[in-house]
Symmetry: C2
Subunit: 287 residues, 2 copies
């Protein structure tokens, strides 16, 4: 049975409950974070906490998450994930329990803190090398997609649109611009250059996105941060999504049409090889 | 102690809890409704249920809310609100409890149903006759504001912006258009004509909004459903918000400047008088 953390206590997930007056439940008034651990070791934990702090600041939730670093470690231990190839810790902080009002509750209302850990199963390397499929979906999100909030209904509907289409990812399009996935960032490769949307308020500032850019630099691949027109996707060479659990996921078919050659391209492979090295994981000889 | 309804049971609010895996808590994946009862009698209950069904359909949550009509009645009874001048029943339905995924959970996952009732205290007539104040706030919501979803973080931040400014309402502005309030619809009066934004996907289709339009017709007041430019607000005669708990709330100051004469106008008063009559409530002689 999985052990979760809730407001200072470790307890079985089955018994973990929050009040119906929690502002997370009533108003989606909170933020979350997902941090990966490879072989029990967190990867870029500081960066994840830094983004979390920034989200708490944006929403003016008065809470110092520092003590949760230790909670993250304990969740890995208590759930026997120290030997897991990949595990994640999910953390959510809401503005707490109070009589329902749209405006903030009285000062001093304690935030609700919930976290769980679980093993993450990557797709097999065979599957990865075949590539993945995506569909474009209208981006219906609010105008602060850079805040990792739990106000995720538009993302839910977009992710389901991908499932309905029988594909792996939803590519969100707004005003003719291919912004990012429903739960990951987007990269295109065109003439050897790696292109991704700038880190504006319209996309999530992915930690893995930053790693991708650093890796590209280290491999001598030019990076352009600029909007990508949807029409451009018809003439690009490679496309992939990046994210904490997505890692590097090459899209070989978009809206039922092949992307580039229709096969996983050399830049996607080179970047994923470098990423696997970065996270200290074995690199398959076929990659 | 207040009695609430949760998944088939009536219980004290203090003990009412939902799983941390509820998709309402994790993903704001649900809808809500607020229905008024005057002297224990529901007002336009059918219209509220009709909008609820439409929201459930839009989100593809498979649940027939018909049995909740009886739950509404019981909540009024059990909370001793049959004699209350104004009470409301709040109802929320989420996609239920399941392991966290963005896409929908397995078919057959039971929705979570939560409802509570409470007395609503109107501002005094003295206060009403002095009028209310509002500030304009950028509309940061998703592009389906017509769905009464619990994905309310942008509304929370807008409502708090009003509190921070020391005023009563937040007027949401998008692309130069004054759309509606953070939790109510908007009406302007200009040259004797009542103007309100059309019921597109950009605003909530308020039940009270429809009542306002019907009342205007019955009073021989012309109604125009068209976008209202922010600049137009400087030359209008009257402004008011409408909603289930808002009823008719006249704005006499917007962004610290007087609206029209800076006093509650005759059209707002006439419409509120007719509304009070419609809901069978006493009409103050000063109104």
């Amino acid at each position: 049975m999985s052990t979760v953390y809730l407001n200072g206590e470790f307890l079985p997930k089955e018994g973990a409950q929050v009040s119906v007056e929690d502002r997370g439940f009533l108003l989606s008034d909170g933020v979350y974070e997902v941090t990966p651990a490879y072989g029990g070791e967190f990867f870029l934990l500081r960066q994840h906490f830094s983004r979390l702090r920034s989200g708490l600041d944006s929403l003016r939730i008065d809470y110092d998450p520092e003590e949760l670093v230790e909670v993250h470690r304990k969740l890995i231990d208590k759930n026997g994930l120290t030997e897991s190839e990949v595990a994640i810790v999910y953390l959510q902080i809401t503005r707490g329990v109070a009589e329902r009002t749209h405006y903030f509750p009285p000062a001093g209302t304690a935030p609700t803190v919930y976290a769980f850990a679980k093993k993450f199963q990557r797709p097999s390397m065979e599957c990865w090398l075949e590539g993945f499929e995506a569909v474009t979906v209208p981006d219906r999100r609010w105008s602060r997609a850079d805040i990792k909030s739990i106000s995720l209904l538009p993302n839910v509907l977009a992710a389901q649109a991908a499932v309905d289409a029988g594909v792996d990812d939803a590519l969100l399009v707004k005003n003719g611009i291919a912004l990012e996935g429903a739960q990951n960032n987007l990269f295109a490769v065109k003439g050897g250059v790696l292109v991704t949307h700038p880190a504006t308020q319209e996309i999530l500032h992915g930690i893995t996105r930053s790693v991708m850019i650093e890796i590209a630099h280290s491999l001598g691949i030019s990076v352009q941060e600029r909007p990508i027109q949807v029409e451009e996707l018809e003439t690009i060479d490679e496309l992939f999504f990046s994210g904490t659990t997505t890692e590097v996921r090459p899209t070989v078919r978009l809206d039922s049409k092949p992307v580039g050659s229709g096969e996983v391209g050399p830049v996607s492979k080179a970047i994923y090889r470098a990423f696997r090295k970065e996270i200290g994981q074995p690199i398959d000889q076929d990659l």
